[in-house]
Point group: C2
Chain length 442, copies 2
Amino acid sequence: MGGACHPGLTIPIAAGRKLCSVTDDLRDQVHAAARRARVAADELVLATRERKDAALHEMAAALRQRAPEIIEANQKDLEAGKAAGLPEGILDRLALTEARIEGVAQGLETVAGQADPVGEVIRGGILPNGLELKQVRVPMGVVGMVYEARPNVTVDAAGLALKSGNAALLRGSSTAEHSNTTLVAVLRDALESVNLPADCVQLLPCHDRASVTHLITARGLVDLVIPRGGAGLINAVVEQATVPTIETGVGNCHVYVDAHADLDMAEAIVLNAKTRRTSVCNAAESLLVHKDVAKEFVPRVTKALQQESVTIHGDEQFAQQDGVLKANDDDWGTEYLSLDISAKVVGSLDEAVKHIATYGSGHSEAIVTNDVAAARKFTARVDAAAVFVNASTAFTDGAEFGMGAEIGISTQKLHARGPMGLSELTSSKWVVWGEGHTRPKA
Amino acid sequence: MGGACHPGLTIPIAAGRKLCSVTDDLRDQVHAAARRARVAADELVLATRERKDAALHEMAAALRQRAPEIIEANQKDLEAGKAAGLPEGILDRLALTEARIEGVAQGLETVAGQADPVGEVIRGGILPNGLELKQVRVPMGVVGMVYEARPNVTVDAAGLALKSGNAALLRGSSTAEHSNTTLVAVLRDALESVNLPADCVQLLPCHDRASVTHLITARGLVDLVIPRGGAGLINAVVEQATVPTIETGVGNCHVYVDAHADLDMAEAIVLNAKTRRTSVCNAAESLLVHKDVAKEFVPRVTKALQQESVTIHGDEQFAQQDGVLKANDDDWGTEYLSLDISAKVVGSLDEAVKHIATYGSGHSEAIVTNDVAAARKFTARVDAAAVFVNASTAFTDGAEFGMGAEIGISTQKLHARGPMGLSELTSSKWVVWGEGHTRPKA
């Protein structure tokens, strides 16, 4: 594996603009990047939508124009990845083609077309004493992103952060180092060409896990960190962070087929939620079937899933079907992200709700039923970012929900829950105008 | 100091309902309380506003009726506090009288009169594919509060948590142990009398700092912890927490008197912001004066502040006035919470903004000016929960902002910023109804 980031060599700390030796303290590098980001954010907070959209269009144009350069860098990552024996799936996610670059460029243009969340008045009015009160959306400030393989996230995150007025500190995977370095260089040049600070987008050193630690403990320097990756990354971030963070993207999603389900509908929803795309967090990982329909539905759904090459990890009743593996206790809590599903017969809706409370990850949960009372009970009692009645969990997605692009799907309850679009990348501020108002003593 | 909470004795872990020996692991106690809270929260999420309001009225009535018992318990805390040599100010905040109990009872009735945030539709509509989408407010679930001396916070927090559908884990100060234990027992009895689970309100052990640690690391068991206290407590919580937390209440607030200020107005606002109540977080701690008005305003405001017994810690220019102490570098970052103020002449609005960015705590900042451009620049660039034009910082308060009672004032950017009322104690959930909708493959 080649690359400018090796120990002992000089490394680029901000898209190749400034070179410094790795004998420098990594913590100082991350903090210095955060301080530059703060300066950039202080300028960005004053940028009009016009200026930010111009930057996004410029970034898109630059990506198209410099596609050969980006693909060349990407080739280095792919070769290194192959040499290191990375699995096909990861290599595929890592690969950038002209078509994929066109895709991310169009993504930036879509973000330019979306409303600017900054300045939106959330609440407001005139108080009895005449004070004029407005709660307005403001940027978070400096936002860190920690993510894995896919280099398109670099561009998506930079675009969403810019539009919402935030400076982005991007900590991508070392696997995508050359791709990310080139992408960020292209984006920074585009920012400068429209007179916005290049430091709105910075790439952090990616070879040492410690750069993540320094980012998530840079309290006061960084306003928010969004880890996007597997449960391991997210747990590590939550354990160590002193900066506010948002947990994203772990989805152990269930489809519950109720006693009063339309079984044709149930089969279609289960198949769609499981097989549409197995590697995404809104895919179903577990099937719960009410005992009253189990006799008919268990053989039927087993056959349908098996025809789509899905392996079922079932309870006693499912395991009586040919080809179904016996589930062990770990299966109920497993996010397979593959053509596997756990499956269980439950005695009641209450048991389904309890099972989901025990094993679910608070992402997306669906009930299939024609019973209004059951649907209302399920939506009221299941505690998740998204709860579906007679629809596939696959719809949990910022674009599907009409929010435009998304930066991730929050599975925590604080600040944002579910798909995070531009609004979810903002904070708010109370702005109060008076004419010499003082508050009487109590 | 007496009390049931001493090492080696049995201690009440949930308002005296269950006694267990301290040889039990404190961590297990806190976790067990959190698990009971979850069960209570699962019931509370289904409680209608009618039931919650009935409970709040019952709690208010019970506090009035059992006031003698509460005052008796409070006497024990006061005696122990005197014996331990607590300062007058703290003893005053600790004291409960009939009038103060009436005050907190009325507070509960006010909360009952407020709208229920749970179920409020934040956004919603029908997607192009016919899916019916609603984002609704839901309770956080289990909310922990860590707070100091004042026992009225126990009742306020319990009431706000209940109304917003949350089970509360209260970790008060050991100084207020008897008062809090009795208050919580009264509240729990009232809950049971209206058939809501008593475990909606639980008091955690208060003698060992470790109970705070166990609370803020009970990830998965506790959804949110709000520390309410000094910078030391809040820093400790942020450093150690794995549960989401909200920083509250540290306020190094500035009043900036611009070159184009009405100096009568400026004087009135400075006096009000500094002297109205010195012990609260919205009090001004620092005064910045534009150099163009310094010659007139510095002597004038110095005299006015000194007449109100305020000690000024001034820069060179202020220090030329009689009785003004020379400020040292620490003064600019100090939240005095007393009749002290730091004061400095600045060369420009930009310098004022930069000073506030360096030393402010992101709470409340005010400009006094008649210059529209200056006011707009100040409100756009100062990054704080509340920014005032020609009004006192003392207005940052949930009740003043028309939000009803508040649980604290958030100085962080994630989730809630500024006064936190009922809405800020909720999360949200996407509820999606379809008729067999499946998502096409990409």
